[in-house]
Symmetry: C2
Subunit: 278 residues, 2 copies
């Protein structure tokens, strides 16, 4: 079993130094309570509600910039694996990225492939599959927010043997019927269950230029059950849970059934998937 | 708007005549309350818990057998579209099928492609994609139970323009944490939401040779919210709801986002989907 922490934070738009401090405090808190994996929100380095690409560019950093350097020090000092959202500048490109850092340094940079709403006017879309990295907490994958809404995307690291999916998210606020879990949580539960892949999703809070958030930070187990969080909130929080990465190695789900082996990949359309014959 | 009915019934194992009567009563009830689409459980013609293929074979019928003939009469008499689960014999093959019937006759026969647990010892697996049929209630698709656990499969009719997915199911009983919807309901909600495709799933009840069921019959809208049913029950029931098939024609989900157009099909692996490079 490992202890994971999903940190629900309120980044300050365009204030990288304040955001580094906020992250440092959360990681210290999480590590002090035993967390071995710490997941931070999408774009926690910069905030989210940019007017345009130029404004986002001004808040962007290289992967060897001050933010990731600070995360590397935190990971090394506290012996944790850290996954957080970075407004990433690379050459002339601008990505909404997730960075995986452990005590040895940067282990992976993933660039969001499915851009939500106006993000497509601001960021370049990634074109690489989610990574799977061997870490001290198990084989770890990551993707960002809207990526989770595409089951094809979650399948990729799941089939590649990931044991935990760490997802920085900024889930835009939307009403849920009374008593129902947020829609994004429901979909994360399904992503987990159909792959037997535990998911740790760190959402944000803090209204930014009129944009509000679900605040639905959640940890699910391999069956898709919520083990911590998963209800809407407006508060910053460090959500802790225990997970067993080995759960993900067993895709059996009852009797002779195996949720991966039972796929009929021979029948699934090739990548186009447009208007199959029926 | 259309009125749909999902009939949660308790078929009698191996008693086709009794099951025809049970279905007739449910369809009369549903139609009398305004239903235009009536969905019946998986294997409602035969029951489920067969010992082996030979026993299932003895309960199987051709698509022009007594059961589907009775369904055709019901559909014509009441002017409804009916989707139900048939233990189907075809030549030497035995399928766990869903049959779509309307007042004009049999519109589609779909054979379950993902066989659950011991079904693989009893049935032949279908190898055709879910159909999409133009009916008086809209463009209708169908698949059976475990098929819903494979998002790749749900995508096929969704991308082909289906407006409603009617799913005969026999969800095996499993505990859910207190206050949580059944796991199969959560996954159906996600299937619906990531495709903006309303789902009508008719489950069964009635313990059969020690096998019990969720009794989680559910209707979701295009956002994946439960509009009727969706909690475990041991009772037979006709679950009615209103749905707007036109919801499925609009895949926009906020601002510039479109849950189908935003797919990165160019990046998804081809059908094999095994061990992609990471």
């Amino acid at each position: 079993m490992i202890v994971v922490a999903a940190c629900q934070l309120a980044p300050a738009l365009g204030d990288a130094a304040a955001n580094r401090d906020r992250v440092a405090a959360a990681v210290e808190d999480a590590a002090g309570r035993g967390a071995e994996l710490v997941v931070l929100p999408e774009l926690v380095s910069s905030g989210y509600a940019f007017e345009d690409r130029a404004e986002a560019w001004a808040s962007a950093e290289d992967v060897d910039g001050s933010t990731v350097q600070a995360w590397r020090r935190l990971a090394a000092d506290r012996g944790v694996v850290l996954v957080g959202g970075l407004c990433e500048r690379s050459g002339d490109s601008l990505f909404n990225s997730a960075v995986v850092v452990d005590p040895s340094g940067v282990r992976a940079v993933y660039r969001k492939a499915h851009l939500w709403d106006r993000e497509r006017l601001i960021f370049d879309a990634g074109d690489q599959a989610p990574p799977v990295v061997e870490t001290r907490v198990g084989r770890l994958s990551t993707m960002v927010c809207y990526d989770l809404e595409f089951p094809e995307w979650v399948r990729i690291p799941a089939l590649a043997g990931a044991q935990i999916l760490a997802a920085p998210v900024n889930w835009p606020a939307a009403p849920a019927p009374p008593g129902e879990r947020p829609a994004e949580v429901v979909r994360a539960q399904a992503d987990a269950a159909v792959n037997r892949l535990p998911i740790v999703a760190a959402d944000r809070v803090g209204v930014e230029r009129g944009v509000a958030w679900v605040g639905g930070t959640v940890v699910t187990d391999a069956d898709g059950w919520v083990v911590a969080g998963g209800w809407s909130s407006e508060e910053e929080a460090v959500v802790l849970a225990e997970l067993d990465p080995a759960q993900a190695d067993d895709k059996r789900i009852g009797g002779l059934s195996d949720i991966h082996a039972d796929r009929r990949a021979d029948l699934y359309p090739t990548s186009g998937w447009v208007r199959p014959l029926t």
